[in-house]
Symmetry: D2
Subunit: 215 residues, 4 copies
């Protein structure tokens, strides 16, 4: 299972979480664990040795793009992948396409987020490495999508497979325990997006270990 | 072939163009001809008897949506279909999905526009009635997409078929003659989007007749 | 006092409300009453003789603007004014400026909406005919801004006067009774924006008469 | 004069430019020179000792804001100020207001950009530390705004003074020589925004020295 810890703009210490991510990733063979800090923290987080992802890249190239996030800059900072179209950073359809292209050009792995199976099919058609289904209404609730809405995960897996069987499916929203991760896997998900459960934990290493333990 | 004349915000007489659309549509068995006026003109255009389409609907329901276009209002005005995500009115991926749903709810036929085959596949995954590929760089050039970039039309047809074989493919950009329409059909397109060639013609009926004639 | 009834995308009969607006407007010397229907309803509403406003215009000119609202089209349909930047249809700063210019060009009166006194000052600097302060958190609550947050109305009046003393100030959010309208006037407001209280009333004429009565 | 070098997403070495900015700033009493790198480069640039600015901050607080730029993060990275509403990163009016508030909260100095005197007045009403007028059509042309359109700079100075005399006015677009900077000052501008002229120079220190020399 791929476990991606999204730090959003939480008031956490990104380096401390990154070190926990790195340590748990190195301690297990059953999960690949990565962290997505804010753009400003990418370099420091990558220096920890943790697998580092961006939270967003813009559909742009080098040039006159004040205030935007360039895929090449993110990659040079040490990121190996990027989220695109997270529900907190939704993009126009043409810009999701452009952002996937920009990330590919910079050698970044891509996970395009979407709300439901129809949009997951659409996201898969843009040929990212993976898609992630996150029902917005469950984000931050503590109620895992795998329990509250298992059909949406299965539907997302089917929708992506119908369009492009090479695209992996992740899921997110409300996942906080290892059992949630196991349940997500049983529904066909190859990974999960996590946020507050780890980012806000007093002991991120313990929180991550608990998540990985039942795998 | 389906021929949809998009009046954009051109300074044309929408009723005169609509009457031409109606007359040519009634005079031929080989084409279905419709017109997409501005929202403010929908009622008057529909009253001509021409098949009337909206240029856009928003992903909303009845309620507190000042300044938005409600699918039900468009349908009540006499429209039978709507464009969604035209390159001049691009939407977020989640909102393309929401607009298709809103249009379905109101009984409107849907054509989702996109720029290239990858986005056409994405659009098709949202289950509209049709998708339309329009390379933005050719819009308004007079150089037909079927001639300038035939691969993009064939690619769009293949991309849509891969995702959902029930979704028709239209194409647009630069189409101004009957030969262009024929060429579009030969590439697998089931219709075309037209704009200035008819909307700005001195004699819209003659312009449309010329388009339909070689079919 | 200027009373503008915003029909949003409510499931009301726009012509029936417009007739009530017209009748109450004609029956009183102490208020000017107008109605802002959806773009698709502008022509039919204007035909009632009611003073008709648009809910939104785009910062565009005639041309290739599929799915946009052109100020000239709105004016030709019989509208005499337009809201701009309503909290349900917020625009970029440059586009508020462009929309005011477009409305001026088409001879439309302009009311630019904003959330707080600072933004009201900003809106006034763009030289609309009026600005309207509507705290988003009070919209639709039934708690009038004049009662819940009188300082915001007084602050808006002061902010607009500091920038351009020719710009009138309206207020909105939660206004449903004649006493609310009187209170708004006492705080320096020259008008009010109303919505559900009239649009959803069983008897819009009675609802409007009650509003005007205490003036 | 304040000289702010905006690195946009240019393919330059941000640290090398920052060192030039620092050195020239330290070598002169007549100018204050600062640099605005991409968010990902803020920490490394600030470590050079150069005065560091962000290119953008979002109107957000700590929390669930994936892919956004938090003012506090920017400040913690060593930035002392931020551009807001650059013409390449235009914001909604309410979000310009929110971004100024967010920057104030984090102790960042603020420069709100706008296209013309009317928008400069609007920007000034939001109480930033400064506003910057940059006619979009001149950006990147090499034709300085002070020469191509001196009225726009004088108009901006007057518009800002009318609203809030505490707000400084900068100008930008096409400035590449020391004479351009002098001319901007003579029109009432207290600083300039620069980009490619320094960021893409073979010798940024020489380019900056030439700019500062005639002051």
């Amino acid at each position: 299972m791929f476990i991606l810890v999204n730090l959003k703009t939480y008031p956490c210490d990104p380096v401390a979480v990154a070190e926990a991510v790195r340590d748990v990733d190195e301690s297990t063979d059953v999960a690949r664990v990565a962290v997505a800090p804010q753009a400003t923290h990418l370099e420091r987080v990558a220096e920890t040795g943790a697998e580092t992802w961006a939270q967003h890249v813009d559909p742009i190239d080098y040039g006159s793009n004040t205030g935007h996030t360039l895929a090449e800059t993110v990659a040079d900072a040490g990121a190996v992948g990027t989220l695109i179209n997270h529900s907190e950073r939704r993009l126009k359809l043409a810009d999701v396409d452009g952002a996937v292209e920009a990330a590919d050009r910079a050698g970044l792995e891509t996970v395009v987020c979407a709300n439901n199976p129809a949009q997951i099919g659409a996201a898969a058609a843009l040929e990212p490495d993976a898609v992630a289904v996150e029902p917005p209404e469950l984000i931050g609730t503590g109620t895992p999508v795998s329990q509250a809405d298992p059909e949406i995960v299965e539907g997302a897996v089917a929708a992506a497979a119908n369009v492009d069987s090479d695209v992996s499916v992740l899921c997110g929203a409300g996942i906080s325990t290892g059992d949630d991760v196991v349940a997500a896997g049983e529904l066909g998900s190859e990974g999960v997006l996590l946020a507050s459960g780890v980012a806000k934990a007093d002991d991120p290493t313990a929180a991550l270990s608990d998540l990985v333990d039942p795998l």
